[in-house]
Symmetry: C2
Subunit: 442 residues, 2 copies
């Protein structure tokens, strides 16, 4: 047979493999938040990774269009890989509206593709975890999204975090008041950079790029620096005088009070959600309440869960106005945070115990022991060959099994195991499988 | 604003959306089998959907190459969407060999893409669920894959199924004996069609396409018609005389006996696994034990889980020989089977109860009730607006909530709920949340 040249095994730039430790952590995270979503009545849906390009392009920004993985398929169709799950959701809702029934609450966990310039920590394929509540304008659905964020982070073991909330109507209202209504989206885009570039640079951009007066720029910035420090009652009292400045401000503030009327009824820790007038969210489609979530121990990593209300999800596909509210969990960012907070298990195996034998004649018994342990609820792996304990212990050590059940001649004869604790090194010789199980369930 | 033309919402031909009911069933299936895999020490990994085309193409068959979604990316790279998870696994193992350590047991659940001619029940994007045991030639790892299949189907509630096993070495041996060694792979490809086209057509193809004599064709077919009907002991005795026919036959039969020496030690129901000499598996890379799994109640849907041992997984990437054994669960086929067997829950919601109020002033209390029910372990959804019971009951009815907790003036005042059983229609007026929880927990 002709020898073929070997191919260098490698991934594309901007794409990555996940090794077991990371893949397990991710799958646990997604399992945990899915349970939370389902606890609130959100249901999963799936849409294809590949769509007609015109479906995706219409609603995407120019930047997105440049980053789109777009090509012609076998049938000459102009197709593209999805760049988010929101545009496919709009297509999905429009297409299956009658089968679904409104209101409709869905979550979706899936990969999206953006041909961005490759840079550290940014990938061209990454996982999005979205949950949205479609077809209800009730402030209750905004409150519920906040609840879901709260419950998700708590379920992941994160104790201290802040959901910072604002309302686009409030920001629109203050722009109205300062007479820059037409430039609102540009103003918000610049204000959104506050954390990154600082106050003076933001004022400079507002004045030089958008032509605002120094007074307007400082006035708007002064307003967006307002945030709730203590109770909501105190904050609402403090900002009450602004309400009269414009209709939009009044409406936005009214919504925030209605939101609090629900949130403050609940058992949620009030310290975890606060109003912050600087939260703008870059995306153009938000029209109501918006929010970001930062971890108190790691504010520098930015928001791990952001979202808001939008009024016109399906405008490309249908004349019917469809309002919704939703948020997206930053899976990779949250994983990095959990690792930094020491909340990730660092093992390279799912198994609690490795069962290992020394002679071929004991192999079948090893499988029997593992089968019995599994029946007793213990994840159990068998070392597939008869080897010296040195080798199986090294394997367990490298993969992170907390225990090894060693099988030798005596263990087979007596129908028992010798259980070695890999952390402390001590071992219980020749104990029954049930006794081993009790220690393993520990 | 200029009115934009509406786009017809649609998916590409051969691609599909999954609505909540189906997506929930799929996610439950995958959660169940993942738990089983992890119980045996298999760990998840992830590889990108997009790879360098040369990585995928080298190992793929001609047919696969034609079906590949292949294009040039922004950087002019020749890239393609993966068509299976086995080639990416080979690339992954070669690339991360040192970090992983052998033996290595991984599972992978992901979507793959094949531009096949669109036909009923066949999709161009579909989900594969693979589990493989790399770097061990021990028959124990073959036995474990059989155990995992068994445990997965049992965990899904399927009671009666048959894992039909064979060994490529046995099939190679019989081809050797009949002097058609060079044509073994073509012979096996044709024999693999036995179920579809019948015995006479297979003989015709063997004779006419491959030029076998009638005697050889009938001899091979006679051999492949042998299968275990009762105990393995009886079967091994029956076929003992064939062992001397060739070295390969002897080796293959020896492996089957060693496999049974492990399997028969275990608690698995012996009726669920049987030797069947007609099992060939189409794929060229199998070299040892192979298997297929059919459901006794639905034999016509074909195999729901197939696999086998391969000797040269990483040959494109490395000179090191790497043996492995693995199988793949046919997710869509199994979902269809579970539905036909009545083993799928048919609801369109994850929630056990819908909490619904009649007046705006009761909305906050609804959220409080649902929060409390969740704390007690009950998945609870709130109807997001104050509506007449007629409307909320219709919503619960269409989505499949088993219960509705109705909130009115009295319920709010007394801090209770009225619980309506959607199946039987009866209701418990004004009971405490704890009493409602007890009913909901059944």
């Amino acid at each position: 047979m002709k020898e073929q040249a070997l191919i260098t095994p490698r991934t594309l730039s901007g794409f990555k493999d996940r090794l077991p430790q990371e893949a397990m952590a991710k799958s646990r995270l997604l399992r945990t938040v899915s349970e939370v979503f389902e606890g609130f009545g959100f249901v999963p849906i799936e849409t294809p990774h590949l769509e007609y390009a015109e479906i995706l392009v219409k609603q995407g920004s120019d930047e997105i269009q440049k980053e789109l993985y777009r090509f012609f398929d076998h049938g000459g169709r102009d197709v593209a890989l999805r760049f988010d799950q929101t545009v496919p959701l709009a297509r999905f809702i429009s297409q299956h509206r009658n089968a679904l029934g409104l209101p409709f609450k869905r979550y979706a966990i899936g990969n999206v593709f953006r041909g961005e310039r490759a840079q550290r920590g940014r990938y061209r394929e990454f996982t999005q975890c979205d949950f949205d509540f479609i077809g209800s304008e009730s402030i209750g659905s905004d409150a519920e999204i906040i609840q879901v964020i709260y419950a998700s982070l708590k379920a992941l073991g994160i104790e201290r975090f802040t959901i910072s909330m604002n309302n686009r109507k409030i920001l629109n209202g203050i722009c109205d008041y300062f007479g820059v209504k037409e430039q609102t989206s540009d103003v918000l885009r610049i204000i959104d950079k506050l954390d990154k570039i600082g106050e003076e640079s933001v004022i400079k951009e507002l004045v030089e790029e958008l032509g605002l007066s120094q007074e307007s720029a400082r006035g708007i910035l002064g307003f967006t620096s307002l945030k709730q420090e203590r109770s909501s009652e105190e904050f609402f009292a403090k900002v009450a005088s602004y309400e009269g400045l414009s209709d939009s401000l009044r409406e936005g503030m009214g919504e925030m009070r209605a939101l609090y009327a629900i949130l403050d009824t609940l058992e949620m820790d009030r310290a975890c959600y606060k109003i912050n007038f600087s939260i703008a969210r870059g995306l153009g489609y938000y029209t109501g309440i918006v929010y970001e979530t930062t971890l108190d121990a790691l504010p520098s990593i930015g928001s791990v869960c952001s979202g808001g209300r939008y009024d016109n999800l399906t405008q490309s596909f249908s004349k019917e106005r469809m309002s919704g509210v939703g948020a997206s969990i930053g899976v990779d960012r949250l994983l990095a945070a959990l690792e930094e907070l020491g909340l990730l298990e660092g093992r390279g195996t799912s198994a609690q115990v490795l069962v290992a034998c020394m002679e071929e004649s004991q192999l079948a018994y090893s499988y029997k022991v593992a089968e019995r342990l599994r029946t007793l609820g213990i994840k159990s792996e068998v070392y597939p060959e008869a080897v010296k304990p040195k080798r199986s212990l090294a394997y367990a050590n490298s993969k992170g099994h907390p225990y090894v059940a060693v099988i030798g001649e005596d263990e087979l004869k007596q129908g028992v195991v010798t259980l070695k604790d890999m952390q402390w090194g001590d071992q219980k010789p020749c104990i029954s499988i049930e006794a081993a199980a009790e220690i393993l369930l520990g």
